[in-house]
Structure formats: C-alpha cells, structure tokens
C-alpha cells in the first residue's frame, strides 16, 4: 500500500458517462487482480472523500488504468481530470480474486455493468493459467457495454455471452439468466463463479450459486470513508461462524472487497441503491 501523488496521463470517455483514467506513479507497485485504489483529484475539496476504483489494468509497473462510470460527486470530480493533473492515490488496497485451479473446475465470470472494472485482470489471469473460463457480461445498453470495457474483454477471446437490459446487444435479459442456464445445462462441476456488479445482481448470483452448490466469490461495494480499515464505515453484514469464521460485520475495504458469497447476509443491504 502506498500513499502517493500520481499524474493523470489520459482520461478519455469510452461511451457517454463512462471513462478510462490512466495514471503514472513515481514508484513501482505490484497489483493483484481485484484490488482497488482510493483516488481523488489533488487538492479538490468537494467532495472531500476519495472514491474507490478497481484497478482495471496494470499498464506497466508505474502505470495503472481505471474504468469508471460518472455517477455522482466523486466520479464527476474525477471526470474533470486532464493530462498532467495530479491525483491523490492510496493503492493497491483490498484482497484479490483467489483462483482455485486444483479442483480442475472452470471459471464463470459474471460482470454486471461497471462491475466489469474489477474483472478484466481476473480474466487475463484465468487465461494465463489456462483455466476453462466462461464470461457472462451484462450491461444496460450496447453503449454501456462499450463503456464497461467490452472490447477489452473480447480481445481476450474467452467464450462469452453478452446481455443487455434493452436488447441492443446480445440477449435481452439479465446477466443472471445465462448464469442459471449454464449451471443447469452444463453442470460446471467444481467450477468457481467470480462476480462483480450491482448488489441485486450479486444477491441473485449468490442464490444461484447456492442452488447449484457452486463456489462463488463476489466483489462488493460499500460507501467508503478511508479505504484502509480505520473508519469501519464500509461494512457488510456477514454470517457469524460462517466461512472464515466471520463476526457480524466485515469491512469491505480490508476484509474484502472479495468475499465468498455464502458469507454475506444478503438481506442486510450494504448500499441503499
């Protein structure tokens, strides 16, 4: 974990409302798939708090990129960044996707919307390890899919299914629909589901995983105060005595952001949206 002032190299719009920020660091970092950073434009005072963004891609030992959707105050501030602007950054943070290769089972990667940002490096790693991988990629629209990095995922050439809410690309259904079909029709014995997306999607993924008794990891979101474990503001409710013997609440930033899906008490919503 380093606290540093990085420099924006580029910050381009991939699709309306979706951007890719590339920053340069002054020291080397080692990043594992699924880790994130806390970022904000240097000196900006509104909003005060940094925002968590998954590290989308390691472009070099001192160069990282982030994929983000411009939603509210924090991401709007990030969207203003131009070349050479400075960025306050704390990174890399959180645990990472643990890839289970021993069982011989494959991987099903479920990306919902901008949740994709946490999954590209995972897919790269799965490919590198030659894990039999299926990508399920869901977005609101064709444009949103482009904004969520679909081209980068396609470049990996993994078997994949794309869904959109409005049918503008791929099948018109929720991304959880092909997940259920996959498990029902193809079994995927010994496989692991890796999912990142909106809470309702992940909740449904967790249900499906439980139904088909499939190992499932989810990367969660929560409003974050600090990103490094001191504010205890980012917690999710977990099953006591469940996997890893969790207590009542765990911090998404340091105990996660990746959790086994059955650890989470999905009925206690960590986010209001």
């Amino acid at each position: 974990m380093i606290e540093t002032i990085a420099t924006a190299e580029s910050n381009r719009e991939l699709a309306p409302g979706y951007r890719m920020l590339t920053i340069n660091l002054i020291e080397d970092v080692r990043v594992n798939p699924g880790q994130f950073a806390m970022l904000k434009p240097r000196g900006s005072l509104e909003p005060l708090l940094r925002r968590a963004l998954a590290i989308y891609r390691v472009e070099g030992p001192q160069r990282l990129s982030f994929l983000y959707q411009v939603l509210g105050r924090g991401t709007t501030a990030l969207a203003q960044l131009r070349e050479k602007d400075e960025v306050e950054a704390l990174l890399p943070l959180g645990n990472s996707w643990s890839i289970e290769t021993s069982g011989g089972g494959g991987a099903i990667v479920v990306a919902g919307g901008i949740g994709s940002a946490s999954l590209l490096m995972l897919c790269e790693e799965l490919k590198r390890l030659r894990v039999d991988t299926k990508l399920l990629f869901g977005a609101a629209t064709e444009r949103a899919a482009a904004g969520c990095g679909l081209e980068d995922f396609r470049a990996l050439d993994l078997p994949s299914i794309v869904t959109t809410d409005d049918g503008s690309l791929g099948d018109k259904e929720l991304v959880t629909a092909p997940l259920e079909r996959e498990l029902r029709e193809h079994g995927h014995k010994g496989s692991t589901i890796y999912a990142c997306g909106p809470w309702p999607m992940m909740r449904r993924v967790a249900e499906i995983a439980a139904q088909f008794k499939t190992r499932c990891l989810v990367s969660l979101e929560a409003p974050m105060g600090c990103g490094f474990g001191v504010c205890v503001g980012c917690v999710v409710a977990v099953n006591t005595g469940g996997p890893l013997d969790y207590g009542s609440y765990k911090r998404v930033c340091t105990d996660g952001s990746i959790f086994p899906s059955e650890a989470i008490r999905w009925e206690v919503n960590a986010m209001t949206h």
Partner: protein
Amino acid sequence: MSKVSNHDPRLAVEIAGIHFNNPVLGASGTFGYGLEFADLIDLNRLGGFATKGLSAKPLAGNAPPRIVETHGGMLNAIGLQNIGARAFIEEKLPRLRGYDTRIIANVFGYSDEDYIEALTILNDGEGIAAYELNISCPNVKEGGIVIGNSPDAAARLTEKAKRASSRPLIVKLSPNVTDITKVARAIVGAGADCLSLINTIVGMSVDVNTRRPRLSYGTGGLSGPAIRPIAVRMVYEVARTVDVPLIGIGGIASTSDALEFIIAGATAIQIGTANYYDPTITMKVIDGLSEYCENQSLENINSLIGSIKAE
C-alpha cells in the same frame, strides 16, 4: 519501529503531566488502533492518538450504511464497533508500545458501570498515557439520554471515572448543547484533568428517491471541515471558562486550522475525518506548525495557546 525521531522541541506540550512531542493527535474513531497507520506515517513523529472507543465487551456496531458524505463533511453512525478493552490490551498494546507516541484510550459505555468496567480492564494495560471518556456519542440507542448533554449526569460519571482510573482523565464534550461552558464547568468540578472537544454534531441525510434516511441508524454524527467554525467557537468559550488544558477537535485539515484552535485556547488538537481522505495529514500539520514557529519567530508553541485577541 525505531524510536529515533527528530522532534522539534518548540512543539512539545504537556497535559496533566503527560509529555507530548507535539500537539498533533489522531482523533478517536478515525485512527483505528493506531497500527493501521504504521505503513502510512512515522508513528514516532506523531504527538499521540486516541483509540477507537473501547468498551468493556466487544461491540458489533450498527447495520450498514454507516457513513454518508455531506457538503464539507460526513455523517457516521458506526455504533462504536470495537474489539473490546481486553483485546486491545492483549492484541494491540504490545505492538503499540514500540512507538514513541502517546496512546490515549478512548472509553465508552452504555451506563456508568460500563465505563467503570472498561476503565478497570484498561488500568492493567501498560503503555496507555491517559483515558478519554466519550460521553457524547450520538450513535447508540441504548441508554436513552446522552450523558454528555447533561451537566449533572456528566459530572456524576466523571467523578466515578476519576476514582476508578489510574491515569489522567480527559473528558470529551458533546457539542449538541445549549451552553457548553455549563457542562464543561460541571465536568472540571468533578475532577477531569483535561477536556477534549468537540465530538460530532447530530445530523441526518435523506435519500429523496427512497424517502429513507441515508444511514440505517437514521441520524448520525457530522464531522469534517463543515463543523470547524462551531468547534473553534466552543473551544474559545470553554477556554475562557475552565482552567484545565483543552484538546481542540473538529474539522481540522490543515496547519492553519490547527492554529485556529490553539490560538482559541487548545493545548493540543486532534485530527479526525481528514485522516480518511489524507492519511498523512498529521505529518503535514506537524511540519506546518514548525514552519509557523519559524516564520513567526516563536520559541515555543505554548505561547500561542489561548493568545486570541478578542474582548
């Protein structure tokens, strides 16, 4: 973990016989158990810090969402999730003792008895410099009234706590009162060695789409730069009322912010929310205070305390 660190002697301050290398402390609830900052800053350079509020038994805290950002600040309703006084002594203190920084144990309970129980446990802990009594946390439902909002209840608890504690006693004031000097006087009268102020101010934020409060708890405590002018005013008022040293808290995010509190009457300051968005802020403020001493040719920061020119 080395204890060798160059301290600017001009910045040293003393509170209730405790020597602080400088007046810059981390505020309770924003500095974890200190160790979380070991990789981010040189803890040996820090004046000290107050631990997350410790209770006799571990507490799970409130359901999420627990925080929401507001303009210039944030609301929190953590609900005092903590590992408990015993675990603090056993798991954290041994590692903390390796650092040359003053450790203040922030103590919390739902009743007078809870506080005494926590203090009794902590009395066993080696390396704690002082206690800070959090009598003003607005985010816990049990207990009914907030002790810190009533001069009588606060004085009663202070007296008991003073008797139970083997260390200097700091009492942390609630800002949610009509006249903070009344509560301050009562607490000092009951034996407190130092007052720290302010804790968070009760606030609320509503999600206009769901029509629900944005915090699961409903209301929360407002902190951050937004509340600084209120905190400075309260430190100023209390400084003119009581004779014990004060620790100023509330929205400090720069050297100049820290100086406002010191000039208004604080012997030391605590930085809270700013640690979240600028984890090295304590170091920056320490450096900034040295620079200020240099520029203003101050031999000692103590001459600044309460030096405000106001009728």
